[in-house]
């Protein structure tokens, strides 16, 4: 038996190609949006997992340090080190600010970390170039996404930092590239008042302003035998702080910080799916309308309605799958060019194919209904 859907599609290839490419753009946007969300989650996981911390200790009742402001004394790490099960505890400051690059401002997340080797507690997981922080002042490790080069001197507020190393990909939960500076510098950037503020305070209080001895969080590494939940509970009970385990921190970041973005992306996905379905339905309906006379003749000469319906369903599904191939190819090619990290996961692509299949099948019903409604008697005038 001849495949009528294929023959008709081949005959109308120009129309279907343009339609398929148009739909492919929509599918591409849909897949890319899902990829952006996956990228945000992956970045958050990299940030949490890459720090080497088993617990994140922050100000009580806050979601700090990324989702909410958190301020605790910078000597609390000493108390934490005394707790059973704690192997190491180091301060960490985190602050989002703008740095000036030639011709533009760049938003970065500056992490103040204790000196150490890559992969250590609070450190970036690895370096792609340069060396770790060795001095406790004026050195900086940068994510390659910042565009900073080794040896470059970067002015940040009142300080000037030299780029000594480039990290593996490290970005904030909102996609801003990260800089790692010595903790003292991070503390200064965040808590040391500016010149004007110092002068103002001196005028009012007649005593010099001091750097406040604060940090945003303490990163805690546990003994292998310790249970993070129990240690976190101890910290919260005895020190009046909030301690997040890795899963809890992931939940705080993904569930709270990325939640709004995820909802927005989800809504976009629903809208784009509906638009895609509607467009396929409209195209199939238009194609069917253009063939009503032929369909009447086919019915009159004895072609079963199921074969005619099957032809329409096949065409719609083929259109949907073609759009899927175009869309995913486009998304794959364009992903590295996105300003955000885009992760195209196999399961998302499978889901997109299933949605394309389902929506095109659903859309074909419009054409099938139109075709089945054709009276074969219409072929006889």
């Amino acid at each position: 038996m001849i495949n009528l859907a294929w023959r008709d599609s081949r005959h109308n290839w120009g129309k279907l190609l343009i339609t398929g490419c148009g739909l492919g753009l929509l599918v591409g946007v849909t897949v890319s949006m899902a990829g952006v969300y996956r990228g945000m989650v992956e970045d958050a996981e990299a940030l949490i997992g890459g720090s080497g911390a088993d617990l994140w200790v922050v100000e009580q009742h806050t979601l700090g340090p990324f989702a909410e402001a958190s301020r605790i004394d910078d000597d609390l790490y000493r108390s934490l080190r005394q707790l059973p099960g704690v192997r190491r505890a180091v301060n960490g400051s985190f602050q989002t600010l703008l740095i000036q690059r030639p011709g533009r401002s760049l938003r970065v997340l500056v992490a103040g970390v204790e000196l150490g080797v890559p992969g250590g507690l609070g450190q970036p997981p690895g370096l792609v170039a340069g060396r770790p922080l060795l001095r406790d002042r004026d050195e900086l490790l940068a994510d390659p996404g910042t565009g900073l080069q080794l040896g470059e001197v970067v002015p940040i507020r009142r300080k000037r930092f030299t780029v000594v190393g480039l990290t593996t990909r490290m970005v904030s939960p909102t996609g801003d590239p990260m800089l790692f500076v010595p903790f003292r510098d991070g503390q200064d950037l965040q808590f040391l008042p500016g010149n004007e503020a110092i002068a103002r305070q001196r005028r009012r209080q007649a005593r010099p302003a001091e750097r406040q001895a604060l940090t945003n969080a303490v990163l805690v590494q546990l003994e292998p035998s310790a249970r993070p939940e129990l240690v976190a509970a101890e910290i919260e009970r005895w020190l009046g702080l909030t301690a997040y385990t890795r899963p809890a921190m992931k939940e705080a970041m993904v569930g709270k910080l990325i939640e709004a973005s995820a909802r927005q992306i989800g809504l976009f996905l629903v809208i784009l799916t509906l638009v895609t379905t509607t467009m396929i339905g409209f195209i199939v309906f238009t194609l069917t309308q253009g063939k009503l006379r032929e369909i009447a003749v086919l019915k009159l000469i004895g072609m079963p309605s199921r074969l005619i319906a099957w032809m329409i369903v096949q065409q719609a599904v083929a259109l949907g799958l073609f759009a899927f191939v175009v869309g995913t190819s486009l998304a794959t090619v364009m992903a590295p060019r996105f300003p955000r990290h885009v992760v195209l996961q196999r399961r998302d692509l499978i889901a997109a194919a299933a949605v394309a299949l389902a929506s095109s099948s659903l859309a074909s019903l419009v054409g099938v209904k139109a075709a089945l409604g054709v009276d074969p008697a219409e072929a006889i005038q």
Binding site: I2, R7, I380
Partner: protein
């Protein structure tokens, strides 16, 4: 078409027999009687005409015979089988009935634009379960009979009107149906081509024993029809060719009075 060539086909038991057929559209005061007590008989191998002015009921009769319109009453026998009796169809699957028993030729060829000439003809044979190879071989044979073998691979939009109509005829005949209903088959053609189509219909009807009804307004082809039924206001009457051609209204008036 070696073992099933037209010459070897046994003649069908009967052609078309219609008795007491009537069709009414609507009901009550708005009822319109389209066909009244139609009596009609076409023998196998016979080519008869159905003539009459527009709106007389020709198309309604053709639709009833083609099993796409349900009559209000009467009986239809196709190929020796009663397919409609009283107020319902006796055949369980009218689509299949049309596929197996009836060939259709339209005023416009209505070929599928996305299939080649050969596949337009072969499609119907494939629907009957014949393999693609068999169906295409049958199509090639018919196209050769219609002097269209050289255009078998062409697409319909590359053919002239006459060529398209010949392909439509081949499509109607590929399953060698016992019944052939032709609705104004020569309308789009000039005289020589119209005569060629009639030659073809006569020849194929004779070879295959097909009962052919030709609905036509075309006076040129009236002499080529073996018998003629005239239709007016839903009344169908048989008349001699000459009488219908020369004075159709007088003939029909007399028939109407009888009714």
């Amino acid at each position: 078409m070696t073992s099933s060539s037209p010459q070897q086909r046994p003649p069908p038991p009967a052609g078309i027999v219609v008795s007491g057929l009537h069709k009414t559209y609507g009901n009550g005061n708005s009822a319109v009687i389209a066909l009244r007590d139609v009596q009609l008989r076409v023998e196998p191998g016979e080519v008869v005409g159905l003539v009459g002015p527009s709106g007389s009921g020709k198309s309604t009769l053709l639709k009833c015979l083609g099993a796409v319109l349900t009559p209000s009453g009467g009986q239809i026998e196709l190929g020796g089988q009663v397919v409609f009796d009283g107020d319902h169809w006796l055949h369980p699957d009218l689509t299949r009935l049309r596929r197996e028993q009836i060939g259709f030729i339209f005023q416009s060829p209505y070929l599928l634009p996305f299939l080649s000439v050969r596949d337009n003809v072969a499609l119907l044979a494939m629907l009957l379960g014949r393999s693609n190879q068999e169906a295409r071989a049958a199509a090639d044979q018919l196209l050769a009979d219609l002097d269209m073998a050289h255009r078998a691979d062409a697409m319909p939009n590359r053919l002239s009107g006459g060529e398209q109509q010949r392909v439509a005829i081949a499509r109607a005949l590929v399953n060698r149906p016992p019944i052939l209903l032709a609705d104004e088959p020569t309308a789009p053609l000039d005289s020589p081509r119209a005569m060629a189509v009639m030659d073809l219909l006569e020849r194929l009807a004779g070879q295959m024993g097909t009962s052919v009804i030709v609905v036509t307004h075309d006076e040129k082809i009236l002499p080529r029809l073996q018998r003629i039924y005239a239709v007016r206001d839903g009344v169908v009457g048989e008349g001699r060719r000459e009488r219908v051609r020369d004075a159709p209204l007088r003939f029909l008036s007399r028939r109407l009075r009888k009714t």
